[in-house]
Symmetry: C2
């Protein structure tokens, strides 16, 4: 049995497509369709298990009830968890999620943005790498509903859900300073992401305010393309400098670094302290202990869909910028 369309239903029952459509969309009463007709249609629709073609509906209405979720890597626990939360929040409002991972590459990001827009997503939630603003600015100019998170660009005016990067990192680093650390290294992925730059700034500020000289040679950048190997190289080099603490700017790099530390520097673990921006479950049981800056994930998810919904509904000009406070989790 082939799939029935509204047309089939109408023909089978001897009504017009219009009547059937009205009934199916609960406009029966409003459109003065007789109770009897309504019941007849509903019964038949149920009998043949009619399923509306959402694509046709989308083409007609110009909306798809689909939201694009664009992040560097959907399997990163931070993005995965937020993804799960917004999936549920959006589902409650009738939206579905289509996902894309950009690998921090503007090229991939642009191509995915393009695809999503062509697929007529109704809105976009994105953790952009903000390397090249062209595509984003074009979309913004068209008033395409977008909300950004995790990352920010000072040159792009959009709706942002962010966390206090600089201050939080500063507070975290100060914890290990208070504990006695004197020579503190830092490991980060590409700092041309502004949020990461802020985290690095926080680290520096902590040193400065505590009269520790900022040594640029202790600030190491790993290559995103070859994270595992690059982390190992940089970390090894840092260890040779005899640092007594290390700060990491996100969960991904911390996880890799912990692995390296356990593999190659087990003996040093006890004399050192570690600080991570981002918190992952792992930190609760991992060796070494890691003091971490936990982003308020449920809150972020909540604001993301909240603001996106507002943007999709009203055509307001004003951009929102919401900055949330992370929670510092001490594990020293």
């Amino acid at each position: 049995m082939k799939k029935k369309s509204i047309k089939d239903i109408a023909q089978d029952l001897g009504f017009s497509k219009t009547t059937v459509s009205f009934v199916l969309n609960n406009k029966g009463d409003e459109k003065n369709i007789s109770k009897k007709t309504q019941e007849k249609i509903l019964a038949y629709v149920h009998e043949v298990n009619y399923q509306p073609n959402q694509i046709a509906k989308s083409l007609k209405k110009g909306t798809t009830n689909t939201i694009g979720y664009l992040v560097p890597d959907i399997s990163n626990p931070f993005y995965a968890k937020i993804g799960r939360l917004i999936e549920d929040l959006l589902a409650a409002k009738g939206y579905h999620l289509i996902i894309g991972s950009t690998d921090e590459k503007q090229e991939k990001e642009d191509s995915l943005l393009n695809m999503f827009v062509n697929r007529q997503v109704d809105g976009l939630i994105v953790a952009s790498c903000f390397e090249n603003l062209g595509m984003l600015k074009t979309l913004a100019a068209q008033r395409f509903p977008m909300v950004f998170f995790d990352r920010e660009s000072p040159d792009f005016n959009g709706n942002y859900i962010l966390v206090e990067n600089k201050d939080s990192m500063k507070l975290a680093v100060e914890k290990v300073i208070l504990k006695g650390a004197k020579k503190i290294g830092l490991l980060s992925i590409t700092p041309n992401v502004y949020s990461l730059k802020l985290r690095i700034d926080g680290y520096k500020q902590a040193l400065i305010e505590n009269s520790i000289e900022v040594d640029e040679d202790l600030i190491r950048i790993v290559e995103t393309d070859d994270l595992k190997e690059s982390t190992k190289t940089q970390l090894t080099s840092l260890m040779e400098q005899k640092v007594d603490a290390i700060a990491f700017t996100n969960n991904q790099i911390t996880a890799n670094a912990i692995w390296v530390m356990n593999t190659a520097f087990k003996a040093d673990l006890n004399r050192m302290d570690f600080v991570s921006f981002d918190n992952i479950d792992l930190f609760d049981y991992s060796m070494p202990r890691v003091t971490s800056v936990a982003q308020p994930i449920p809150e972020i998810a909540h604001y993301l869909v909240d603001i996106l919904e507002q943007v999709m509904q009203s055509d307001e000009e004003e951009c929102k910028r919401i900055e949330l406070k992370p929670k510092l989790i001490e594990r020293l």
Copy 2:
């Protein structure tokens, strides 16, 4: 400037929609469109940055180049990683991923399946809870392209990418027996998932073959709805029985259990051994040490899109069942 459609392009240039469409789809030569016309159209299209409406295309062609990915929880690292891998594999073939989390509930699963089908996804990759086979059987009867993984139902004939559950679990449990464990508990989520039942069977088999009596009271099932609390309760009760090893049937429950162990039973960690089906990064650094059965994630992903593609292309009757071998990672 409003978005241009093919019609606009045609009007602007004085050609027909047909001609423009042919050129846009690289059928210019095949359809004998003059070089000059082709160039003109291409140039203009580029100038105004024309973007085809994929929804319209989908409606016309009956395919959307979208694949539905349906799992219990997209933020579970196992599903997230596979998600990421198939996202990339599918992207290379022009497909996008639309995701749904079912929370192990058939109701949610059915509703998502329905939505995905109504949205005309071209295929489905699903880790079903297989609680009620109605919806799945209906889809299978319509020859809807689907590939299943991680879970299996003996009552449902579909394409499966699985791992050896029973044997792997048996081997893992035997490791701790060899190390001297005598009283081995087991913690699992809902065993009405057949794959989990197999893992439990493997556990039992290991005991039997090593002349250890199977004590049903040492086999504990946690409630999926309240995982954290239920894990705590069951684990505490198991610990009161003075078990000297515990086996867990998936990563989710192991992660929770590790947390409970660290919180409430730190003193017991050293005298005990742990075994987990599924491996997560965390196990490399966590206390306690956990011997784990690592599923071959990239291979699973690879087969998933491979088989799905085959199913979408040919209309072959035959169902495939691929069983992969996990890798045992000893950490005793």
